[in-house]
C-alpha cells in the first residue's frame, strides 16, 4: 500500500476512533498523572503572559479608579464614615458575644474550630463563557496548595482545587457540572450531595419526605471531602417534585456569586479520608481501582 493511501485510511479511521476513545473515558478534567503534569507544564510556561496581562490591566484599572474617576467618591466617603461608626458600636457587642460564645462552647465540650492554615490568592482569570466553570488563582504548589483542597470566600464555599501548577491553581467552582459536595440543611440537618448544575446554580436531590423550605441555608457537612463542617454553601431558591413521587429536586443559589469572586482563601487541608486510602492502597490506588489488570500484573511480578 503506498504511503498516501495509508495516510488516507489512517485519517479516516482516526475520525471514527477518536470519539469512541473519548466517550469511553471517565470525562474527568486534567489533574494528576504524568501526562497531566506535562499538560500543566504548558500552563506554567504561559503563566507569565497571563500574569503580565493581569497585572497591567488591574494596574490601569486601579490608576483610573484612584486618580481619575473620582466623581462620587466624596459621597461614598460620607456613607462609609457613617457605616464605620455603626460598625464600631456593633464591634463592642460582638466582642462581648464572642467571649460568651467561647465560654459556652467550652462548657458544652465543643472543640471544633477552624484552625487550618490558609493561603489567600487573587483570581487571575475565569472562563464564564464556557460551561466548564473553573477559575485560576495566583497561588500554586510553591505556596503549599494541593489538589482537593477547599476554596472559600468570606460569604461561603467556592469550590475545590482540581489542578495545581507551580505558581497557579485551578479551582472547580461549585456550579461546575462535575462538582459534588456533601452538604446539610442548616435548619434540620438533612444531608445530601450537592452537584453543579448551571452557570449560576447547583442542584440537590432529596427524598420527597425530606422537609425543606425555600430560603433554607445549606452548609458543608464535613463528613466527606476536605471541606470543614459548617461552611455556608448556598440557599434554596426552588423546589420541584419529580414525577416518580419519590424524590424532589432542589435548586440552590451559591452564597458566593461565581462571577463576583476576586479573592479566594484556600484552606491547606487535605481530604483525610483520601489520605487514609492512599496510606493503605499506595499512592496509585486510584489508577489501580480503575484498572484492575494493572493490579494483577504487579502482583504476578
Amino acid at each position: 500500500m503506498d504511503l498516501n493511501r495509508l495516510r488516507f485510511w489512517v485519517l479516516i479511521s482516526g475520525i471514527f476512533a477518536a470519539p469512541l476513545l473519548f466517550f469511553s473515558t471517565q470525562f474527568s478534567p486534567w489533574s494528576e498523572g504524568p501526562v497531566s503534569r506535562a499538560a500543566i507544564l504548558i500552563q506554567d510556561i504561559s503563566y507569565p503572559f497571563a500574569w503580565v496581562w493581569h497585572e497591567s490591566s488591574t494596574g490601569l484599572d486601579n490608576a483610573w479608579e484612584r486618580y481619575i474617576n473620582l466623581s462620587g467618591k466624596s459621597h461614598e466617603n460620607t456613607l462609609l464614615q457613617a457605616e464605620n461608626l455603626k460598625l464600631k458600636s456593633s464591634q463592642l457587642n460582638y466582642d462581648e458575644l464572642l467571649i460568651e460564645l467561647n465560654r459556652l462552647r467550652s462548657l458544652a465540650g465543643f472543640t471544633q474550630v477552624m484552625t487550618d492554615k490558609i493561603v489567600a490568592a487573587e483570581v487571575i482569570t475565569g472562563q464564564k463563557a464556557l460551561p466548564f466553570r473553573t477559575i485560576r488563582v495566583s497561588k500554586g504548589s510553591d505556596a503549599g496548595v494541593k489538589i482537593g483542597m477547599p476554596a472559600i470566600a468570606s460569604a461561603g464555599a467556592i469550590g475545590r482545587v482540581i489542578r495545581v501548577g507551580v505558581y497557579f491553581s485551578d479551582i472547580q467552582l461549585l456550579v461546575d457540572f462535575d462538582s459534588n459536595i456533601d452538604v446539610f440543611v442548616q435548619r434540620n440537618r438533612i444531608r445530601g450531595v450537592l452537584g453543579g448544575y448551571s452557570n449560576e446554580s447547583c442542584r440537590l436531590k432529596l427524598q420527597r419526605s425530606s422537609e425543606v423550605r425555600i430560603g433554607d441555608t445549606l452548609a458543608t457537612s464535613g463528613i466527606v471531602g476536605s471541606f470543614p463542617k459548617g461552611i455556608p454553601v448556598g440557599k434554596i431558591v426552588r423546589i420541584s417534585f419529580e414525577s416518580d413521587d419519590v424524590s424532589q429536586l432542589i435548586t440552590v443559589a451559591p452564597w458566593v456569586e461565581p462571577h463576583l469572586i476576586e479573592e479566594v482563601i484556600i484552606l491547606l487541608r487535605e481530604d483525610p479520608e483520601l489520605g487514609r486510602i492512599a496510606e493503605a492502597g499506595g499512592a496509585d490506588w486510584f489508577d489501580k481501582s480503575l484498572n484492575p489488570t494493572l493490579n494483577e500484573k504487579r502482583t504476578t511480578k
Partner: protein, 192 residues
C-alpha cells in the same frame, strides 16, 4: 470518490517566498519554535485577555481559526504539533473533560488533511466554509458534552446566541488571517 493520491504536497507551505516580508503574526512562520510560541500567546489571549476585556461573557475564540489555518497551510508534522499544543492549552485552561478538544480538533485536522488538496484555496468561499464548519463543530461538540453530562437546561437562547457570535467572530478572524494566503496562492496547479 476519485481521489488523486499522486498529487504533490504543496510547495506553498515550504517556499521561502511565503515566509518573508509578511506580517509576522501568522501560522507557519517557517520557524517551529515561533509557531509554537504564537500558539501559546494565542491561547493566553483566548483564555486570559478576552475574558477580562469582555467580562468573560462573550466566548471569542482565536485558537480555532488559527489552528484551522495551520492545518490548511502547514506541513503535516507542524499541524500535528499545533493540534496537540492547541488542544492541551484549551483543556488545561478549563475544567472540561480531558480529550474533549483533542478529539474535536483531531477530527477537523483529519478532514482538512483529506480535503485540502481537493479545494481551491485561492477563493474566499472554501475558507469561509472551512472556518464556519470548524467553529460550528467545536461549539456543537461542547453542547453535546453538556447534554450527555446533564440535561439541556443550560442550552437556552442566550447560550446559542453566544455560540453564534463565537462562530461569526471565528469566521471573521479566520478570513483576516487567511487573506494573505489567498493572495499568495495564485495557481490551481498546486492546490494545498
Amino acid at each position: 470518490m476519485n481521489i488523486n493520491f499522486e498529487m504533490e504536497t504543496p510547495s506553498f507551505s515550504t517556499s521561502d517566498d511565503h515566509r518573508r516580508g509578511w506580517w509576522p503574526i501568522r501560522p507557519n512562520t517557517g520557524f517551529y519554535w515561533a509557531d509554537m510560541l504564537w500558539l501559546v500567546v494565542i491561547g493566553t489571549i483566548d483564555n486570559h485577555v478576552f475574558p477580562s476585556l469582555t467580562g468573560g461573557i462573550l466566548p471569542f475564540s482565536l485558537l480555532t481559526p488559527w489552528l484551522v489555518l495551520t492545518f490548511v497551510v502547514a506541513p503535516a508534522p507542524l499541524s500535528v504539533s499545533a493540534l496537540l499544543l492547541g488542544s492541551l492549552i484549551q483543556e488545561t485552561n478549563a475544567g472540561c473533560p480531558r480529550g474533549m478538544y483533542l478529539t474535536a480538533y483531531w477530527i477537523i485536522f483529519a478532514i482538512i488533511m483529506l480535503s485540502r488538496k481537493l479545494l481551491s484555496w485561492r477563493h474566499a468561499v472554501p475558507w469561509i466554509v472551512t472556518f464556519f464548519i470548524s467553529s460550528f463543530f467545536i461549539s456543537n461538540f461542547e453542547s453535546l458534552i453538556i447534554l450527555l453530562r446533564q440535561d439541556g437546561a443550560q442550552l437556552d437562547f442566550f447560550y446559542f446566541a453566544k455560540q453564534l457570535l463565537r462562530v461569526s467572530f471565528s469566521v471573521i478572524v479566520g478570513m483576516a488571517l487567511a487573506y494573505p494566503w489567498m493572495l499568495r496562492f495564485k495557481g490551481e496547479t498546486t492546490p494545498p
